[in-house]
């Protein structure tokens, strides 16, 4: 995969893959994100956790460039993200029209259309790219299926393949594990590990705190503001969780220490509705 990624020369290799500086966002007069500052390096696997309405989806959309922050800025390899196509954003899957007459391979190809450029059609090399991306997510045999014929986990993998076909260096995933069975979750996780190895920066929002704890390099604990950002052991301590989740935190005595259990509700984020 490493040789598949061609880097635009404009990148500043010294700069972090992604840096958010005092990102502030309001919606209808309500503060959704208050001055979020964080840096993420290439090859890092970062989880964003927090209760419903914490601003996880909003933060991902701002980084993706779908929303503009009211204050602050997002820099990608040292540059503003305008015109950048090295970011791929995989939204919650409920947001696309699954009855659309489009095949799996075509959905993956959509990731490449900026690379192909206007007034041009995908070349053989582009289709090879798409085939390889589908192969990497283990979906080759579904290439000619209509997107709506796949299960939720399969669709998730197709959108991941789209991000691969885009040759993204920063991949943002919004709640990719919600509603998936364990084996689909594992498939996505091992794929993320591979991407990480080819120095892609990955930012994943999730409700699953134990997953964030066990499988991610660093964790952003968010509730309208950035409560903590660091390795899981430093972030998942009782004061932080209390601050993020309020009263919904219980202590469970456990051999070798105390496990803190938060109760993030598993419904869709209210913020996701706004689009």
């Amino acid at each position: 995969m490493a040789q598949l990624i061609t880097r635009p020369p404009s990148h500043d290799r010294e700069a972090p893959a992604l840096s958010m500086e005092a990102v502030h966002f309001e919606y209808d007069g309500t503060v959704v994100l208050r001055s979020v500052t964080a840096e993420i390096q290439a090859g890092e696997l970062v989880a964003i956790v927090g209760p419903n309405g914490a601003g996880k989806t909003t933060l991902l959309k701002i980084v993706a460039g779908v929303l503009k922050p009211d204050q602050g800025s997002v820099r990608v390899f040292g540059h503003r993200p305008g015109g950048h196509v090295c970011i791929a954003y995989v939204p919650q899957r409920s947001q696309v029209d699954l009855s659309f007459p489009v095949t799996v391979a075509e959905v993956v190809m959509m990731g490449r259309i900026r690379k192909i450029g206007p007034f041009r059609w995908p070349s053989k090399a582009d289709w090879t790219f798409v085939r390889q991306a589908l192969q990497r997510v283990g979906m080759s045999e579904f290439a000619e299926r209509q997107i709506g014929e796949l299960s939720g986990g399969q669709q998730q993998r197709v959108f991941l393949a789209q991000a691969l076909a885009q040759e993204a260096e920063i991949i943002l995933l919004d709640e990719p594990f919600t509603g998936l069975d364990i084996s689909s979750q594992e498939a996505i996780l091992s794929m993320l590990q591979e991407l990480k190895a080819s120095s892609v920066a990955i930012l994943v929002s999730t409700h699953d705190l134990s997953l964030a704890n066990q499988r991610f390099d660093r964790v952003m604990l968010l509730n309208r503001r950035l409560i903590a950002f660091g390795v899981p052991a430093e972030v998942f301590i009782r004061p932080n969780l209390l601050e993020a989740y309020g009263g919904h935190v219980h202590d469970l005595p456990e051999a070798g220490g105390t496990m803190v259990l938060a109760e993030p509700c598993c419904g869709d984020d209210a913020e996701a509705e706004r689009g």
């Binding site: 007459p101 959509m110 990731g111 900026r114």
Partner: protein
Amino acid sequence: MAEWMQWLVEPFRYEFMLRGLWASLIVGVVCPVLGTYVVLRGMAFLGDALAHIILPGVVIAFMIGWPLPVGALIIGVVAALSIGAIGRRADIKEDAAIGVVFAGAFALGVALISVQRSYAVDLAHILFGNLLGVSTADIRLMLGLGAIVMLAIFAFYKEFLVLSFDPVLAATLRLPVAFLQNMLLVLLAIVIVISLQAVGVALVLAMLVTPASAALLLARRLPVMMLLSAGIGVFSALVGLYLSYYADIVSGSAIVLVATLFFGVVFLFAPRKGILSSLLRRNLG
């Protein structure tokens, strides 16, 4: 010549029927192809509204002696762009904004016609089309405009596809989303102008939506949907013309009725998505 061939050829011995055939074939292709996006993007109401908004443009052009399609095109493009602009504001819901502009413009159009002398005839022609009154110059214009629309659909195929399937991806990829959306609206206005003489203001919507909806039930890929949609459009135009000639029905209505019937058949009997096949599946599975 065999009798049935005689029957088939007979209507087109007349020049005006032949011109009508050309016009309806152009409409039968262009309208349903753009209609695939109207159906997929849920723009049916907008399409209907645009068709009605064009009415005052046609009447004003008539009053000041301009070619009717020019007046229609100008007002259509202006309306399409202003609806796009209104829709991007949050304080008025888009469908309400469309409704306000649509009804107001249509009323203006009817008012302008009513002060003309030949009110009844003209209004009927604009509302329901006048396929048999199409001139050679009209056909040339339709052909030119139709070619522009088809070319644009072809040239921006992958951009329109992404915009329609996944607007968030379009934004992430930094596609010029507003530009593409406006272009779709302008194309819609052009197609409505093309269809005006064939099926009229009141029935343009049918040519935009009906063949494309039937095609959606049959196709699993967009290019196939477009081809099928055009095929159904052409079929409806042809059969509609015969129906019009032999049963003495207004041509625009005849064409739309055939398309609607076609949709009904597909709705019931489509292999995968039809009512019958899903009933069968439920019983067998």
